[in-house]
């Protein structure tokens, strides 16, 4: 019995009669015997109960127990119950892309609200309705800058996530772009070096704030430098930090992008996530992905539609601004629900909680003999500590003691084996942080 098929034997017979064939197999006549599968040796189906319990067993094999201090761009923020409840409405999650606006005002208005919220959050003029995730969004932003400037040289700041950089390297492997990297200086962007590297062939400078190591910066001067050479500036940002930090818009950045997971989405082992992109209004026609615009219906009432579709693949085919079709509409709706729940004051408070708590833990950790914070650059809710021992060894021991201690920078950087990236969100309590500091101190001592 297949619960997802309604046709009974009687229905099937009646339908075959109407079609004028004797069996379903006749309908597959174009698939000839030589096309038959060499094998289709799949297991027998299970009941709903059996599948659910099998997968619950697998879920329980994953360690979500240890208190998480891991970030790296993906954070253990609390997701309000109302977020999950609202996007669990079948009217949202079982709808298709809103190509028929009369039958999709729910999705369209929600996405317009999402775009507007992302604009005010990042201080930019226009937003699209989402891209797959932070890494692919940064790639799309870079391609956008290349189209706008007609140049192919990219200056990559050393603070940009190594995960994103690896992703961009894969995508551009065959495309003959020139990449130059500007390593950080004292944890922040190296102004003098960037000034030297940006030239009149540069399409864009790519920055991240806070950077991968956690440091906050004000990139306004770098924007001025870049613009003087006709280059654009792209900044990847962490949305929760914008409850406090200077926005890309205030710095004069041309394209802001980032990962929206922190806006009410669970960690989900890497996805689905939420890529976003906002920009200046003059660049809107080069922005990839779906865009929702306001208009009126034939009675003059406000309504919303997909707009500027002439940029997109289903109209322009190989001349489109991007091959993107599906975005992550439901994740964008979840994010705007989150932003609406938390509100103007709540976001400020959330950012402040993250900042204060991280500063508290940082102060505890530097009291441990041999543990240092190497730069004086300010940080938001994540910071890098240098340990007297290998970070991997510390992480391994602390995992057994109930803490996911952080991310070892040696995973992506040669010579940083002793560096640990530690993240703190509003969910970490003072007691958890004190316990973490105590255990870290003990483990470091044991390993020395």
């Amino acid at each position: 019995m297949n619960p997802f098929i309604a046709n009974t034997p009687d229905d099937t017979r009646a339908m075959l009669d109407a079609i004028g064939v004797k069996s379903i197999d006749e309908l597959f006549a174009d698939i000839q015997p030589r096309h038959a599968p060499r094998s289709f040796d799949l297991p027998k189906g299970l009941s709903e109960f059996e599948v659910t319990s099998k997968l619950n067993t697998l879920a329980l094999k994953n360690s979500v127990g240890p208190v998480p201090f891991i970030g790296g761009g993906y954070y253990d923020h609390y997701v309000p119950a109302a977020c999950g409840a609202l996007i669990s409405r079948g009217e949202f999650y079982t709808a298709y892309t809103p190509y028929q606006p009369e039958a999709a005002q729910g999705t369209l208005q929600s996405l317009f609200e999402f775009q507007s919220a992302m604009c005010t959050l990042t201080g930019m003029d226009v937003s699209n309705a989402s891209l797959y995730e932070g890494g692919t969004a940064l790639y799309e932003a870079m391609m956008m800058a290349i189209r706008i400037t007609g140049r192919t040289r990219i200056v990559m700041d050393g603070g940009v996530s190594p995960i994103y950089r690896k992703l961009i390297k894969s995508y551009t492997h065959n495309l003959h772009f020139e990449f130059v990297e500007a390593p950080l200086l004292h944890g922040q962007s190296d102004r003098a070096l960037l000034k030297k590297l940006v030239d009149d062939k540069t399409a864009a400078v790519i920055l991240q704030n806070p950077n991968f190591f956690g440091a906050i910066d004000d990139h306004t001067d770098i924007v001025t430098t870049a613009h003087a050479s006709g280059a654009l500036v792209i900044e990847s940002v962490y949305p929760v930090s914008l409850g406090m930090l200077k926005t890309p818009g205030e710095m004069g950045v041309d394209i802001a992008t980032g990962e929206g997971q922190s806006l009410g989405l669970p960690l989900n082992f890497g996805g689905p996530y939420l890529g976003f992109i906002t920009t200046r209004k003059k660049f809107i026609r080069q922005m990839p992905g779906r865009i929702v615009g306001e208009t009126v219906d034939s009675a003059g009432n406000r309504c919303f539609v997909n707009t500027l579709q002439a940029r997109e693949q289903h109209i322009r085919r190989e001349k489109a601004t991007s091959n993107v079709c599906t975005n992550v509409a439901l994740c964008a709706i979840q994010a705007v629900i989150f932003m609406t729940l938390i509100g103007k004051q709540g976001l400020k408070k959330l950012a402040r909680l993250n900042y204060d708590k991280a500063e508290f833990l940082k102060a505890q950790l530097v009291k441990i003999p041999g543990v240092q914070v190497k730069t004086s650059a300010p940080t938001f809710n994540e910071f890098t500590v240098c340990l007297p021992v290998n970070a991997n060894d510390v992480i391994e021991r602390m995992m057994h003691l109930g803490f996911a201690a952080g991310f070892p920078l040696g995973r992506y950087y040669d010579g940083l084996d002793k560096y640990l990236l530690v993240a703190v969100t509003e969910k970490r309590t003072k007691d958890e942080m004190l316990a973490y500091a105590e255990v870290l101190g003990r483990v470091v001592k044991e390993l020395q």
Binding site: L16, I70, F92, A104, T136
Partner: protein, 485 residues
């Protein structure tokens, strides 16, 4: 309906945060701080819940409406898969955990889901190996084309052309172009199949590969597909299978056996994960032996003891396609669906998808013009050309259906058929639902004879009347806070 920003009242908040339990860290230097607050709405929780509940009610959805969009496979999305994806052991798992030294042991359950999903999809499609990384169909296409490019580069082949039929989805040429290829378009022959003589005429050593959907977007399985594969392989080209229409052939044919070298599968179509109003999707990519070493990293491995691990060493790999391992929450739902159906259930799925489509075809072909009058696969392609002669176009019929609370089929696609109406009922719809739809389509046809002028006003039963799309593009208001762009 008002926007959240218009409902905002100062000092309201919809979510309670914890009070701080640590001392204030003091002020950051002003240069690092934003000058004005983000103007997020201020609303109580109930008002937020009511706002978005009311918005949701302004949507059609599979849960509430028949949704026969051609090429989109709007089948029912089983509820139990939502429950599985929300299990804390999956939903709260940090993607960087298995990248810690020895960290795979903290994610054995999740890695098993990825490994097993790859194995199931390999068996279903007849491919050697899969990557779950691509985050949507178009993302899978781009991945596939990058694999194609890596193959040719490794062999020293000088290739620059990708061949695509004119009936293909727009993502095909867009994806190939993004990867740096030139596109050569092949027209369809009179039966709707690929014109093999035309294909032969453009074959050359510069051809990197061919991208096709099978069954194609006319709903037809091309019996010459193996001949086409032979031709493409004769110039060392790669056969790319766009899995958009895989729902038609589960258990009946496998792309790998038909001669395809690389495939993408849309989990949000064939494997019943929700479309979400336009994502998140998932577009895993499978390859045959000759492309396997180029697959993205990380790969999930399983050792003799049954321990799963992530392998990032791929000297020939094209690298990272996504930041992590794919749209894991979506993959979980598809895996749960496959486990429930098993091999027999999947085969039955295609059988009834094709039965339902042919039933609609037989019931509607009296009233609507059939450009290709033959048995179809999982979708049937009509044209409103007869109705257009009476002044009623495919879009008008679509709006009539919306008025009657049925989501219209895909209209004006494929681009090669005038006034196209492409109907994909899927296997999950009952005969009663199909009959209601048939009656509505016949009623629409009847109305085109009696009162064609009536169509211009449809829909009248929806939250809005027809929108002015030209104004939207001309005035470009995409942000509540901005004046028109």
């Amino acid at each position: 309906m008002k926007l959240v920003f218009e409902k905002s009242v100062k000092d309201r908040q919809g979510f309670k945060l914890p009070d701080t339990d640590v001392p204030s860290a003091g002020a950051l230097k002003e240069t690092y701080l934003r000058k004005t607050d983000a103007a997020l709405p201020e609303m109580s929780e109930l008002d937020v819940v009511r706002h978005f509940t009311q918005l949701s009610q302004r949507n059609f959805s599979v849960d509430a409406n028949f949704y026969p969009l051609g090429s989109c496979t709007m089948k029912y999305n089983p509820k139990f898969t939502e429950k599985v994806a929300a299990m804390p052991g999956f939903a709260d798992l940090h993607p960087l955990l298995p990248q810690l030294k020895g960290g795979e042991r903290y994610a054995q359950g999740a890695l098993e889901v990825l490994y097993e999903s790859e194995r199931w999809l390999s068996m279903i499609t007849g491919m050697k190996a899969f990557t779950m990384q691509p985050l949507a169909g178009a993302h899978g296409e781009l991945t596939g084309i990058m694999l194609m490019a890596a193959y040719h580069k490794a062999k020293g082949n000088k290739k620059k052309i990708v061949i695509i039929p004119d009936s293909a989805h727009g993502t095909n040429p867009a994806s190939a172009a993004v990867a740096g290829y030139e596109i050569v378009t092949i027209p369809s022959d009179k039966k709707g199949g690929m014109d093999i003589e035309k294909l032969k005429s453009v074959l050359s050593d510069e051809v990197a590969g061919l991208m096709v959907t099978s069954p194609d977007t006319y709903g037809v399985f091309n019996p010459q597909i193996d001949e086409i594969a032979r031709l493409i392989h004769s110039v060392d080209g790669i056969m790319y299978y766009d899995g958009a229409n895989l729902n038609a052939i589960l258990g009946r044919a496998r792309p790998g056996d038909l001669g395809f070298d690389v495939v993408h599968v849309n989990l949000h179509k064939t494997f019943a994960t929700p479309h979400g109003g336009g994502g998140p999707g998932s577009g895993p990519v499978g390859v045959g032996e000759k492309l396997e070493k180029f697959l993205p990293v990380s790969r999930v491995t399983k050792d003799a003891l049954g321990v799963y691990a992530l392998n990032y060493d791929g000297p020939d790999s094209i690298g990272y396609i996504a930041s992590f391992y794919g749209a894991f929450g979506v993959i979980l739902k598809a895996y749960a669906y496959m486990l429930l159906l098993g091999g027999d259930g999947l085969k039955e799925t295609s059988a009834h998808a094709v039965l339902n489509a042919n039933y609609l075809l037989s019931r509607l072909k009296g009233a609507y013009y059939l450009p290709f009058d033959r048995v179809c696969m999982h979708e049937c392609l009509f044209s409103a050309s007869r109705q257009a002669e009476r002044g009623v176009h495919a879009i008008d019929i679509a709006k009539f259906l919306i008025d009657k609370k049925v989501h219209p089929p895909t209209v004006y696609f494929p681009l090669t058929v005038k006034e196209a109406i492409m109907i994909e009922p899927t296997e999950t719809e009952s005969k009663e639902t199909l009959d209601v739809f048939v009656e509505l389509m016949l009623e629409a046809d009847e109305l085109t004879r009696k009162d064609p002028g009536a169509f211009k006003s449809f829909p009248t039963t929806m939250p809005i009347f027809r929108p002015d799309e030209t104004k939207a593009a001309r005035e470009l208001k995409v942000n509540y806070f901005a004046s028109n762009a």
